[in-house]
């Protein structure tokens, strides 16, 4: 029995199945978001150690932070796949992932600022983790800027893929340099975030929200991918057929 792994790597066949993916993923995202927020507001204690109700921003903050990092990993995965197998769809995947990743990095910083103001009394502190997130945002922006500034699609894809790859090699060093400006004594992070110490319901709500953001990313990236596919394949018969059918 043979299964053609590359079948869905053609934009045309992917486009065909993408609509149902978007429907399913956005449905899951909405349900999980409602459940997660309900759980987060109704089932969790009002006070977390010394913080009052406002700690609940973590139900957005933490999933957003995780997703922004995870999306960079997937972006690099698609970029490298594109460079190795020269599959157009992989490049399009990478291009579609970047804005969502950047959005989550921004959301992390934004919600973090609110949380910081309420619990530390400042909007921003040059704490290592905040700085890392800021730099991740910079790297996303550099990727998007490079992609957009190259007119030739193929060159844009390959150049930004290479940049993403270089970025992923540099990230550990950047992370280290920010966390340990003094190698003898690594800076204390945010606070030790040990998942075990966190109250069970908070954890449940947080993970539900994590899956909600994941499903959201899946839906929105697939949606963006559809637009990119149509734009790039506009010369082909099947793309023209789709546009004509819609009109």
């Amino acid at each position: 029995m043979s299964f053609n792994w590359f079948k869905y790597s053609s934009p045309a066949s992917f486009y065909g199945i993408s609509h149902s993916i978007i429907k399913a993923a956005s449905g899951i995202a909405i349900i999980l978001c409602i459940v997660g927020l309900y759980w987060g507001f109704a089932k969790t204690p009002d006070i977390l150690t010394d913080q009052k109700e406002y700690y609940r921003i973590l139900f957005i903050h933490v999933p957003a932070a995780w997703m922004s990092m995870w999306l960079y990993v997937t972006l690099v995965f698609w970029a490298v796949t594109g460079l190795i197998f020269n599959t157009r769809l992989s490049y399009m995947m990478a291009a579609a992932t970047a804005p969502t990743g950047a959005l989550f990095a921004f959301l992390t910083i934004w919600t973090g600022a609110f949380w910081g103001k309420t619990s530390w009394g400042v909007w921003w502190d040059w704490d290592p983790r905040m700085t890392s997130m800021l730099i991740l945002l910079f790297i996303y922006i550099g990727y998007i800027a490079l992609q957009n500034s190259i007119a030739d699609t193929r060159r844009a894809d390959r150049a930004s893929a290479l940049l993403a790859l270089v970025g992923v090699i540099c990230i550990p060093v950047i992370y280290l340099s920010i966390n340990c400006p003094d190698p003898y004594q690594c800076a204390a992070l945010h606070q030790q975030s040990s998942l075990k110490q966190i109250e069970k319901n908070i954890l449940i709500a947080m993970f539900i929200m994590l899956f909600a953001t994941w499903a959201y990313s899946f839906a929105i990236i697939t949606h963006r991918l559809r637009s990119i596919i149509l734009e790039r394949e506009k010369r082909t018969q099947w793309a023209q057929d789709i546009v004509r059918d819609k009109a």
Binding site: A151, D152, T153, R235
Partner: protein, 210 residues
């Protein structure tokens, strides 16, 4: 071993426009392949694809039945490419430029072979002047002098006769003729008629699609 250039099912695009597709032909040793086509028909892109600079969207280019890409060093050493741009540094003189090319081609730095290349092209008296101070035609001749450094099997020439006078054109054609005699092959684009080369060894490829 046959030093044959094979193009198979090649498709190239520029800015979302298909220049040509499903293009196949071969260039045998001793053969000159003349690419014909209007402006914008993809002649330069085809030459750059053959030289490995531009990746094809479909199809393959092969040399001795091996893929002709930039990572195939036995291929990149076998050809000499003279493109639209001369590839010369304006602030260096002819000799310095050619000595740099010798290094690039992996040849031993030898001022004798540079001198003989310049003499063949009748430009040796200008070898100490900065490229900046030479005329367009003289610059073109120095770029073409690359063809005479070391030995090569395939010449890839993009409008080699641009800004050359009649005498220089004849000179270059004679060099091409010699190269073909020594079982070398040439692929070129030009708007000038090739007068000195026997039509039996010329193979014309039309790039214009109807």
């Amino acid at each position: 071993m046959s030093k044959q250039l094979t193009i198979q099912g090649l498709q190239c695009e520029r800015g979302e426009r298909v220049l040509f597709s499903d293009l196949s032909f071969t260039v045998e040793p001793g053969q000159l392949c003349h690419l014909n086509g209007a402006n914008g028909s993809g002649k330069t892109t085809l030459l750059r694809t053959i030289a490995g600079y531009t990746l094809p969207y479909a199809g393959t280019v092969s040399w001795n039945e091996k893929p002709a890409t930039l990572s195939n060093s036995s291929y990149t050493q076998a050809y000499r490419y003279v493109g639209h741009q001369n590839g010369l540094k304006k602030s260096l003189n002819a000799r310095e430029n050619l000595e740099f090319f010798q290094q690039l081609y992996g040849l031993n730095a030898s001022s004798d072979s540079v001198t003989s290349a310049l003499e063949t092209l009748k430009i040796n008296d200008k070898s100490q002047l900065s490229i900046r101070d030479l005329s367009q035609g003289q610059q073109r001749k120095i770029a073409l002098a690359r063809l005479l450094l070391g030995s090569s099997d395939l010449w890839i020439l993009d409008e080699p006769f641009t800004s050359l006078d009649l005498a220089s054109r004849n000179l270059i054609e004679n060099l091409m003729q010699q190269h073909l005699h020594q079982e070398g092959s040439i692929i070129l684009t030009t708007h000038h008629p090739l007068v000195n080369i026997p039509s039996g060894s010329i193979h014309v490829i039309e790039l214009d699609r109807e």
